[in-house]
Protein backbone atom coordinates (compact mmCIF):
# COMPACT_ATOMS: atom_id res chain seq x y z
CA UNK A 1 0.00 0.00 0.00
CA UNK A 2 2.95 2.31 0.58
CA UNK A 3 3.18 3.55 -2.96
CA UNK A 4 2.68 7.24 -2.23
CA UNK A 5 3.67 9.92 -4.65
CA UNK A 6 6.11 11.69 -2.36
CA UNK A 7 8.23 8.60 -1.74
CA UNK A 8 8.99 8.23 -5.44
CA UNK A 9 10.35 11.73 -5.75
CA UNK A 10 14.06 11.94 -6.26
CA UNK A 11 16.22 14.78 -5.08
CA UNK A 12 16.33 16.12 -8.61
CA UNK A 13 12.56 16.34 -8.71
CA UNK A 14 12.55 18.31 -5.47
CA UNK A 15 15.16 20.63 -6.91
CA UNK A 16 13.10 21.00 -10.07
CA UNK A 17 10.03 21.80 -8.01
CA UNK A 18 11.88 24.48 -6.08
CA UNK A 19 13.19 25.85 -9.34
CA UNK A 20 9.65 25.96 -10.72
CA UNK A 21 8.45 27.85 -7.67
CA UNK A 22 11.30 30.31 -8.02
CA UNK A 23 10.51 30.83 -11.70
CA UNK A 24 6.85 31.22 -10.88
CA UNK A 25 7.64 33.83 -8.25
CA UNK A 26 9.69 35.63 -10.90
CA UNK A 27 6.61 35.76 -13.15
CA UNK A 28 7.27 32.81 -15.47
CA UNK A 29 3.81 31.30 -15.87
CA UNK A 30 5.14 28.30 -17.80
CA UNK A 31 6.46 27.01 -14.49
CA UNK A 32 2.84 26.71 -13.44
CA UNK A 33 2.18 24.24 -16.21
CA UNK A 34 5.15 22.15 -15.18
CA UNK A 35 3.90 22.08 -11.59
CA UNK A 36 0.47 21.06 -12.84
CA UNK A 37 1.89 18.24 -14.91
CA UNK A 38 3.86 16.93 -11.94
CA UNK A 39 1.38 17.38 -9.12
CA UNK A 40 -2.01 18.05 -10.71
CA UNK A 41 -3.10 14.43 -10.59
CA UNK A 42 -2.13 13.95 -6.94
CA UNK A 43 -3.83 17.20 -6.02
CA UNK A 44 -6.96 16.05 -7.82
CA UNK A 45 -6.89 12.79 -5.83
CA UNK A 46 -6.70 14.69 -2.57
CA UNK A 47 -9.38 17.11 -3.69
CA UNK A 48 -11.65 14.27 -4.81
CA UNK A 49 -11.29 12.62 -1.42
CA UNK A 50 -12.39 15.88 0.18
CA UNK A 51 -15.18 17.04 -2.14
CA UNK A 52 -18.46 15.40 -2.98
CA UNK A 53 -18.41 15.93 -6.72
CA UNK A 54 -15.77 15.56 -9.38
CA UNK A 55 -16.56 19.04 -10.68
CA UNK A 56 -16.01 20.64 -7.28
CA UNK A 57 -12.74 18.74 -6.92
CA UNK A 58 -11.47 20.04 -10.25
CA UNK A 59 -12.61 23.56 -9.36
CA UNK A 60 -10.54 23.39 -6.17
CA UNK A 61 -7.45 22.28 -8.10
CA UNK A 62 -8.00 25.09 -10.60
CA UNK A 63 -8.40 27.64 -7.80
CA UNK A 64 -5.18 26.37 -6.24
CA UNK A 65 -3.23 27.17 -9.38
CA UNK A 66 -5.03 30.49 -9.79
CA UNK A 67 -3.95 31.34 -6.25
CA UNK A 68 -0.37 30.41 -7.11
CA UNK A 69 -0.40 32.95 -9.91
CA UNK A 70 -2.36 35.73 -8.26
CA UNK A 71 -1.18 35.66 -4.70
CA UNK A 72 2.26 36.22 -3.36
CA UNK A 73 4.17 32.94 -3.16
CA UNK A 74 5.65 32.40 0.27
CA UNK A 75 7.18 29.01 -0.37
CA UNK A 76 10.22 28.15 1.74
CA UNK A 77 12.05 24.95 0.66
CA UNK A 78 13.40 24.54 4.18
CA UNK A 79 9.89 24.11 5.56
CA UNK A 80 8.73 21.30 3.27
CA UNK A 81 8.20 20.04 -0.21
CA UNK A 82 6.44 21.83 -3.02
CA UNK A 83 3.75 19.17 -3.06
CA UNK A 84 3.14 19.77 0.62
CA UNK A 85 2.87 23.48 -0.04
CA UNK A 86 0.41 22.89 -2.88
CA UNK A 87 -1.63 20.58 -0.64
CA UNK A 88 -1.73 23.33 1.98
CA UNK A 89 -3.04 25.85 -0.54
CA UNK A 90 -5.60 23.33 -1.80
CA UNK A 91 -6.69 22.52 1.74
CA UNK A 92 -7.40 26.21 2.39
CA UNK A 93 -9.45 26.39 -0.81
CA UNK A 94 -11.46 23.33 0.18
CA UNK A 95 -12.05 24.68 3.66
CA UNK A 96 -13.23 27.99 2.26
CA UNK A 97 -15.43 26.19 -0.25
CA UNK A 98 -17.25 24.32 2.52
CA UNK A 99 -17.60 27.46 4.63
CA UNK A 100 -19.12 29.20 1.63
CA UNK A 101 -21.48 26.30 1.00
CA UNK A 102 -22.84 26.53 4.54
CA UNK A 103 -24.42 29.86 3.68
CA UNK A 104 -26.69 28.30 1.09
CA UNK A 105 -29.63 26.01 1.50
CA UNK A 106 -30.18 23.47 -1.21
CA UNK A 107 -33.57 23.67 -2.92
CA UNK A 108 -35.57 20.51 -2.76
CA UNK A 109 -36.50 20.19 -6.41
CA UNK A 110 -37.44 16.73 -7.54
CA UNK A 111 -35.04 16.44 -10.48
CA UNK A 112 -32.00 17.86 -8.74
CA UNK A 113 -32.55 15.97 -5.55
CA UNK A 114 -32.88 12.67 -7.31
CA UNK A 115 -29.65 13.29 -9.20
CA UNK A 116 -27.83 14.51 -6.09
CA UNK A 117 -29.11 11.50 -4.19
CA UNK A 118 -27.72 9.22 -6.86
CA UNK A 119 -24.30 10.79 -6.46
CA UNK A 120 -24.40 11.01 -2.68
CA UNK A 121 -25.62 7.53 -2.22
CA UNK A 122 -22.60 6.19 -4.06
CA UNK A 123 -24.69 4.41 -6.63
CA UNK A 124 -23.82 3.84 -10.26
CA UNK A 125 -23.78 7.60 -10.87
CA UNK A 126 -20.75 8.05 -8.59
CA UNK A 127 -17.94 9.49 -10.69
CA UNK A 128 -15.11 8.37 -8.42
CA UNK A 129 -15.95 5.12 -6.67
CA UNK A 130 -15.95 2.20 -9.08
CA UNK A 131 -17.73 -0.42 -6.98
CA UNK A 132 -20.67 -0.34 -4.63
CA UNK A 133 -18.39 -1.07 -1.69
CA UNK A 134 -16.00 1.77 -2.38
CA UNK A 135 -18.98 4.04 -3.07
CA UNK A 136 -20.33 3.26 0.39
CA UNK A 137 -16.86 3.73 1.83
CA UNK A 138 -16.59 7.08 0.07
CA UNK A 139 -19.96 8.12 1.45
CA UNK A 140 -18.77 7.27 4.96
CA UNK A 141 -15.60 9.25 4.37
CA UNK A 142 -17.54 12.29 3.20
CA UNK A 143 -19.66 12.19 6.34
CA UNK A 144 -16.58 12.67 8.51
CA UNK A 145 -15.79 16.18 9.76
CA UNK A 146 -13.45 18.04 7.47
CA UNK A 147 -10.40 17.88 9.74
CA UNK A 148 -10.78 14.11 10.13
CA UNK A 149 -11.43 13.58 6.46
CA UNK A 150 -8.32 15.47 5.43
CA UNK A 151 -6.02 13.63 7.82
CA UNK A 152 -7.20 10.27 6.51
CA UNK A 153 -6.87 11.45 2.93
CA UNK A 154 -3.31 12.64 3.48
CA UNK A 155 -2.03 9.89 5.79
CA UNK A 156 -3.89 6.78 4.66
CA UNK A 157 -4.73 7.50 1.04
CA UNK A 158 -1.82 9.68 -0.08
CA UNK A 159 0.51 7.97 2.42
CA UNK A 160 2.37 11.14 3.27
CA UNK A 161 4.63 11.16 6.31
CA UNK A 162 3.33 12.60 9.56
CA UNK A 163 5.89 15.38 9.35
CA UNK A 164 4.69 16.36 5.90
CA UNK A 165 1.06 16.21 6.97
CA UNK A 166 1.85 18.29 10.04
CA UNK A 167 3.36 20.89 7.73
CA UNK A 168 0.30 20.86 5.49
CA UNK A 169 -2.15 21.10 8.37
CA UNK A 170 0.06 23.59 10.20
CA UNK A 171 -0.05 21.70 13.48
CA UNK A 172 2.30 19.54 15.57
CA UNK A 173 2.99 15.94 14.60
CA UNK A 174 1.33 14.74 17.80
CA UNK A 175 -1.85 16.48 16.79
CA UNK A 176 -1.76 14.71 13.45
CA UNK A 177 -1.42 11.34 15.17
CA UNK A 178 -4.21 11.90 17.66
CA UNK A 179 -6.46 13.39 15.00
CA UNK A 180 -5.76 10.42 12.72
CA UNK A 181 -6.59 8.01 15.53
CA UNK A 182 -9.95 9.69 16.11
CA UNK A 183 -10.66 9.86 12.41
CA UNK A 184 -9.98 6.15 11.93
CA UNK A 185 -12.15 5.30 14.90
CA UNK A 186 -15.01 7.42 13.61
CA UNK A 187 -14.69 5.89 10.17
CA UNK A 188 -14.66 2.38 11.61
CA UNK A 189 -17.83 3.01 13.58
CA UNK A 190 -19.49 4.56 10.56
CA UNK A 191 -18.53 1.61 8.36
CA UNK A 192 -19.81 -0.81 10.98
CA UNK A 193 -23.13 0.99 11.07
CA UNK A 194 -23.30 0.60 7.29
CA UNK A 195 -22.48 -3.11 7.81
CA UNK A 196 -19.44 -2.85 5.57
CA UNK A 197 -17.25 -4.31 8.33
CA UNK A 198 -17.88 -6.59 11.26
CA UNK A 199 -16.49 -5.41 14.55
CA UNK A 200 -17.12 -8.68 16.41
CA UNK A 201 -13.95 -10.24 17.72
CA UNK A 202 -11.92 -7.11 17.03
CA UNK A 203 -11.18 -4.59 19.76
CA UNK A 204 -13.22 -1.51 19.09
CA UNK A 205 -11.21 1.74 18.87
CA UNK A 206 -13.33 3.79 21.20
CA UNK A 207 -10.58 5.72 22.87
CA UNK A 208 -10.47 9.38 22.13
CA UNK A 209 -14.03 9.55 20.84
CA UNK A 210 -16.37 12.09 22.21
Amino acid sequence: MKTGVMKNFSMNTADDDSGCMARLAAGDSRALHELYQRHGRALLRFSSAMCRSRQAAEDMVHDTFVALLRERISFDPAQGSVFGYLCGVLRHRVSRHFRHQKRWVELDTSDDSSQAHAVDSGGPADEIARTEITAAFRRAMLELPLQHREVIALCDLEELSYVTVAGILDCPVGTVRSRLHRARALLTIRLASLELIDLQGVPSPQRGLT
Binding site: S29, L32, E58
Partner: protein, 184 residues
Protein backbone atom coordinates in the same frame (compact mmCIF):
# COMPACT_ATOMS: atom_id res chain seq x y z
CA UNK B 1 0.65 8.04 23.85
CA UNK B 2 1.15 9.32 20.32
CA UNK B 3 3.49 6.48 19.49
CA UNK B 4 0.89 4.08 20.77
CA UNK B 5 -1.76 5.67 18.61
CA UNK B 6 0.62 5.63 15.68
CA UNK B 7 1.48 1.93 15.99
CA UNK B 8 -2.13 0.84 15.87
CA UNK B 9 -2.70 1.81 12.26
CA UNK B 10 -6.11 1.61 10.65
CA UNK B 11 -8.60 -0.95 11.78
CA UNK B 12 -7.72 -4.28 10.15
CA UNK B 13 -11.12 -4.41 8.54
CA UNK B 14 -10.97 -0.97 7.02
CA UNK B 15 -7.44 -1.30 5.69
CA UNK B 16 -8.58 -3.27 2.61
CA UNK B 17 -11.35 -0.74 2.03
CA UNK B 18 -8.83 2.08 2.28
CA UNK B 19 -6.60 0.36 -0.25
CA UNK B 20 -9.49 -0.25 -2.60
CA UNK B 21 -10.64 3.36 -2.31
CA UNK B 22 -7.06 4.58 -2.87
CA UNK B 23 -6.90 2.50 -6.02
CA UNK B 24 -10.14 4.06 -7.25
CA UNK B 25 -8.79 7.51 -6.52
CA UNK B 26 -5.57 6.64 -8.33
CA UNK B 27 -7.61 6.06 -11.48
CA UNK B 28 -8.69 9.67 -11.54
CA UNK B 29 -7.07 11.79 -14.17
CA UNK B 30 -7.67 15.48 -14.75
CA UNK B 31 -10.38 16.07 -17.30
CA UNK B 32 -9.69 17.79 -20.58
CA UNK B 33 -11.71 20.71 -19.25
CA UNK B 34 -9.34 21.15 -16.32
CA UNK B 35 -6.34 20.82 -18.64
CA UNK B 36 -7.82 23.53 -20.85
CA UNK B 37 -8.49 25.81 -17.88
CA UNK B 38 -4.93 25.43 -16.63
CA UNK B 39 -3.66 26.05 -20.16
CA UNK B 40 -5.73 29.23 -20.35
CA UNK B 41 -4.40 30.23 -16.95
CA UNK B 42 -0.82 29.83 -18.11
CA UNK B 43 -1.57 31.80 -21.28
CA UNK B 44 -3.28 34.53 -19.31
CA UNK B 45 -0.35 34.66 -16.90
CA UNK B 46 1.97 35.06 -19.87
CA UNK B 47 -0.18 37.91 -21.18
CA UNK B 48 -0.46 39.39 -17.69
CA UNK B 49 -4.25 39.24 -17.86
CA UNK B 50 -5.14 36.74 -15.22
CA UNK B 51 -8.73 35.69 -14.66
CA UNK B 52 -10.10 36.06 -11.15
CA UNK B 53 -10.61 33.13 -8.84
CA UNK B 54 -13.67 31.16 -9.80
CA UNK B 55 -15.35 31.12 -6.44
CA UNK B 56 -15.48 34.49 -4.78
CA UNK B 57 -14.62 37.29 -7.20
CA UNK B 58 -18.13 37.73 -8.51
CA UNK B 59 -19.54 38.14 -5.06
CA UNK B 60 -16.72 40.41 -4.02
CA UNK B 61 -16.95 42.78 -6.99
CA UNK B 62 -20.07 44.77 -5.94
CA UNK B 63 -18.61 45.31 -2.49
CA UNK B 64 -15.33 46.50 -4.00
CA UNK B 65 -17.19 48.93 -6.30
CA UNK B 66 -19.28 50.24 -3.39
CA UNK B 67 -16.20 50.66 -1.23
CA UNK B 68 -14.45 52.49 -4.05
CA UNK B 69 -17.37 54.86 -4.56
CA UNK B 70 -17.61 55.47 -0.82
CA UNK B 71 -13.91 56.26 -0.63
CA UNK B 72 -14.25 58.62 -3.60
CA UNK B 73 -17.19 60.44 -1.98
CA UNK B 74 -15.28 60.81 1.27
CA UNK B 75 -12.28 62.14 -0.62
CA UNK B 76 -14.40 64.72 -2.46
CA UNK B 77 -15.98 65.78 0.84
CA UNK B 78 -12.59 66.21 2.47
CA UNK B 79 -11.34 68.20 -0.55
CA UNK B 80 -14.33 70.57 -0.46
CA UNK B 81 -13.97 71.00 3.30
CA UNK B 82 -10.29 71.82 2.93
CA UNK B 83 -11.06 74.41 0.25
CA UNK B 84 -13.73 76.06 2.42
CA UNK B 85 -11.41 76.14 5.38
CA UNK B 86 -8.63 77.66 3.28
CA UNK B 87 -10.91 80.43 1.95
CA UNK B 88 -12.09 81.18 5.50
CA UNK B 89 -8.51 81.46 6.72
CA UNK B 90 -7.66 83.70 3.77
CA UNK B 91 -10.52 86.08 4.55
CA UNK B 92 -9.52 86.15 8.18
CA UNK B 93 -5.91 86.96 7.26
CA UNK B 94 -6.85 89.55 4.62
CA UNK B 95 -9.93 91.49 5.77
CA UNK B 96 -11.50 93.84 3.25
CA UNK B 97 -10.20 97.43 3.92
CA UNK B 98 -12.73 100.04 4.95
CA UNK B 99 -11.82 102.53 2.21
CA UNK B 100 -12.86 100.09 -0.43
CA UNK B 101 -16.50 100.44 0.41
CA UNK B 102 -18.41 102.40 -2.20
CA UNK B 103 -20.35 104.50 0.34
CA UNK B 104 -19.29 105.83 3.67
CA UNK B 105 -21.31 104.80 6.63
CA UNK B 106 -22.38 108.44 7.12
CA UNK B 107 -23.88 108.50 3.66
CA UNK B 108 -25.82 105.37 4.33
CA UNK B 109 -27.21 106.74 7.57
CA UNK B 110 -30.63 108.20 7.08
CA UNK B 111 -30.78 109.93 10.44
CA UNK B 112 -27.86 111.26 12.44
CA UNK B 113 -27.35 109.17 15.47
CA UNK B 114 -25.42 111.81 17.40
CA UNK B 115 -24.61 115.49 17.22
CA UNK B 116 -22.79 118.16 19.10
CA UNK B 117 -23.60 121.84 19.49
CA UNK B 118 -21.28 124.76 19.75
CA UNK B 119 -21.80 128.30 20.85
CA UNK B 120 -19.70 130.68 18.91
CA UNK B 121 -19.46 134.32 20.10
CA UNK B 122 -19.82 136.73 17.23
CA UNK B 123 -20.13 140.43 16.61
CA UNK B 124 -21.02 142.59 13.67
CA UNK B 125 -17.95 143.80 11.81
CA UNK B 126 -17.53 147.18 10.17
CA UNK B 127 -18.64 145.60 6.87
CA UNK B 128 -21.90 144.58 8.49
CA UNK B 129 -21.07 140.84 8.64
CA UNK B 130 -21.39 138.66 11.68
CA UNK B 131 -17.87 137.31 12.47
CA UNK B 132 -16.58 135.13 15.28
CA UNK B 133 -14.63 136.94 17.97
CA UNK B 134 -12.52 136.00 20.93
CA UNK B 135 -14.89 135.38 23.81
CA UNK B 136 -12.38 136.96 26.22
CA UNK B 137 -12.11 140.17 24.23
CA UNK B 138 -14.05 143.19 25.20
CA UNK B 139 -17.29 143.88 23.49
CA UNK B 140 -16.96 146.51 20.81
CA UNK B 141 -20.53 146.06 19.66
CA UNK B 142 -23.44 143.93 20.51
CA UNK B 143 -22.29 140.37 20.98
CA UNK B 144 -24.27 137.36 19.80
CA UNK B 145 -24.13 133.67 20.43
CA UNK B 146 -24.37 131.51 17.36
CA UNK B 147 -25.62 128.02 18.22
CA UNK B 148 -24.11 125.56 15.74
CA UNK B 149 -24.99 121.88 15.58
CA UNK B 150 -22.60 119.44 13.86
CA UNK B 151 -23.92 115.96 13.35
CA UNK B 152 -21.87 112.81 12.88
CA UNK B 153 -23.20 112.49 9.36
CA UNK B 154 -21.14 115.54 8.40
CA UNK B 155 -24.00 118.01 8.23
CA UNK B 156 -23.68 121.39 9.84
CA UNK B 157 -26.41 123.83 10.69
CA UNK B 158 -26.92 127.05 12.58
CA UNK B 159 -29.64 126.60 15.11
CA UNK B 160 -30.10 130.17 16.09
CA UNK B 161 -28.41 133.47 16.69
CA UNK B 162 -29.27 135.22 19.94
CA UNK B 163 -27.94 138.30 21.69
CA UNK B 164 -25.46 137.37 24.40
CA UNK B 165 -27.49 139.13 27.04
CA UNK B 166 -30.61 137.01 26.55
CA UNK B 167 -28.80 133.74 25.88
CA UNK B 168 -28.90 132.32 29.33
CA UNK B 169 -32.59 132.95 29.76
CA UNK B 170 -33.51 131.57 26.32
CA UNK B 171 -31.57 128.39 26.78
CA UNK B 172 -33.28 127.65 30.06
CA UNK B 173 -36.68 128.37 28.56
CA UNK B 174 -36.19 126.13 25.48
CA UNK B 175 -34.80 123.20 27.56
CA UNK B 176 -31.72 122.41 25.38
CA UNK B 177 -29.91 119.28 26.43
CA UNK B 178 -27.03 119.64 24.04
CA UNK B 179 -23.53 119.47 25.29
CA UNK B 180 -22.40 123.00 24.66
CA UNK B 181 -18.72 123.42 24.89
CA UNK B 182 -17.72 126.96 24.54
CA UNK B 183 -15.07 127.85 22.08
CA UNK B 184 -12.19 129.38 23.90
Amino acid sequence: MNDELDSRGPHPHIAPLLRQYARDLAQITPSSDLDARIGALVAAGRDNSLPGPRTSTRGFLPYAVAAGLGTLAIGIGIFIGMKLEQSRDFLAAHPAPAHESAWSSADLTMWPSDSVSFQIPAEFSAQGKLVAVDPNSKNTSTRYWIDVVVSNDGTFRIERVVPADSKQADSIQQGHDHVAPKIQ
